[in-house]
Symmetry: C2
């Protein structure tokens, strides 16, 4: 097997312009990001959408890595063809194979610096735990959502999304760029430590496990009839209590959280989720042990 | 002359969704906005762009009210045809004539609640002074920019833009909606007072007079090679001092303001101005007297 290589993707969504800008600068100044000796392939996910300043042209690239879509030779959707192309080059059996993928995103939601992992793969849990132990960042575990699948990083043996916000679509922000750079650098450093046998795995990973999403209240035309309540706007990762305000209507009516469980909302008011009928997603905060076999799966992949 | 009517436009840019949402709610709940007895025509400026979540489809509607563009019967650009349509219906000689226009915008820049007026029309100065005396808001006077012309409100005998931010494109924000509602309501209240002879004109209007715009530093490919300095991001309306940081490059190099004059930047990091080569605009803060003849011009128009 060839030496470990990490695929680093920016601009999977073309209106998230901070990571692509960082890549431009990284190309011009190679010392900008310390890769700790790890080989990387830095790729713009959706260059055409980036040029247009749009999330996507035909369909969301980060929902296009679905086996049913990838089964055909050629798709009508540009993004499905791009997914096939990325896999043929950088997939774990590709011409320039990568074993791990890191996909750099930004959001209008107040997610801070966070990681998103998909399902419960041992390699993802182990790597996320290493990064969390360094940066103390929250991890969103997305799983079991029939409406939302085909994420890029799922097509590699290990990988996660680095999700940073709030930042407006198509706005360059020094803070966002710096957060992205630091999170990427620490991720590569931890992979390097796994490779050199120096990784110190923590006992546990704190995850925010996806339970479902709730939509904005809508009128009979399907238009949102309320917006996020000002007391909840910007409060991603802060647990809901029974009676917490969620949405407010223009007549002052407040829609409240009625559960007994202290669920934790994420992706509150992400601009592009309005079309996906997601006002916010709800998670449960859980501490998961990182078993020895989890660690070994990551070590086997990297070494 | 028929009774005064005010044209109120939302969604002139289709990715500024808060004012259009307010219009939806206003339609459903007519008491939501107190019009103080003033007749209003509430119109979505660019419904097709709003549906698409884009600033515009062919060209910027708020740069399409140019006499050279409007001189032809039919244009290839949807927005130029829409400009003609709006004028034929709501223009001061239109089938449903309006004398004053108020155009509701939002921005990713930290403009707070502000007004934008174009040129030095006496009616605009008088009305802006009345609103400023009520809300204490800053006024940006845009003039003499050869690159930027053809703004909607210039085609009515009196009018201004209400500009509110920061808010991401395509994000609904309760705060932005409320700011929009209050600024519109106070504007209509002041017009009603002019009509009833009860307006109390202040002695002066504080304007921020447009001097020019500065672009992001760019590389040889035309891509931005620096972003707004974190100490300047979000600091619209705060005067620059000699040596104030403006932009920061990825290698840490800082581009500084070198003027002696305490110019005041506005529209810092507005997402859609990246394509217009505007990183921020520079203004000079000036106090202009509101003469009796200014006041009379507005009174003559409204009464």
């Amino acid at each position: 097997m060839s030496e470990t290589q990490v695929l680093v993707v920016a601009g999977t969504h073309g209106n998230e312009i901070n990571a692509p800008w960082l890549f431009n600068q990284w190309h011009a100044h190679p010392s900008l990001i310390n890769t700790y000796g790890i080989r990387t392939a830095a790729v713009i996910g959706n260059p055409e959408a980036l040029k247009a300043g749009l999330r996507y042209l035909d369909c969301d690239l980060n929902r296009s890595f679905r086996s049913d879509l990838l089964a055909f030779d050629q798709s009508k959707a540009k993004e499905v063809n791009r997914a096939k192309e990325l896999l043929s080059i950088y997939g774990s059996s590709g011409s320039n194979a990568c074993q791990i993928s890191i996909d750099l995103h930004s959001t209008t939601a107040t997610m801070g610096t966070s990681l998103v992992i998909y399902g419960r793969r041992s390699t993802d849990l182990a790597l996320a735990a290493l990064v969390q132990s360094r940066l103390g960042l929250p991890v969103y575990l997305h799983e079991g959502d029939k409406e939302q699948k085909g994420f890029l990083v799922e097509s590699w043996p290990c990988g996660f999304v680095i999700e940073i916000g709030p930042v407006s679509q198509n706005v360059l922000l020094a803070k966002t760029i710096n957060q992205t750079r630091i999170a990427l650098e620490v991720s590569l450093e931890e992979i390097a430590k796994v490779k050199s046998g120096q990784a110190k795995f923590p006992d546990q990973l704190v995850v925010h496990r996806h339970l479902g999403s709730i939509d904005f209240p809508r009128n009979t035309n399907g238009e949102p009839s309320a917006c996020i309540h000002p007391n909840r706007q910007g409060k991603d990762w802060e647990p809901l209590e029974k009676g917490s305000p969620l949405f407010i209507c223009s007549d002052g009516h407040v829609v409240r959280f009625l559960g007994d469980d202290p669920l934790v909302p994420v992706f509150i008011n992400e601009a592009s989720y309005l079309e996906k009928n997601i006002g916010m997603s709800l998670t449960r905060r859980e501490a998961w042990p990182i078993s020895r076999s989890c660690q070994e799966d990551l070590i086997d992949l990297v070494v």
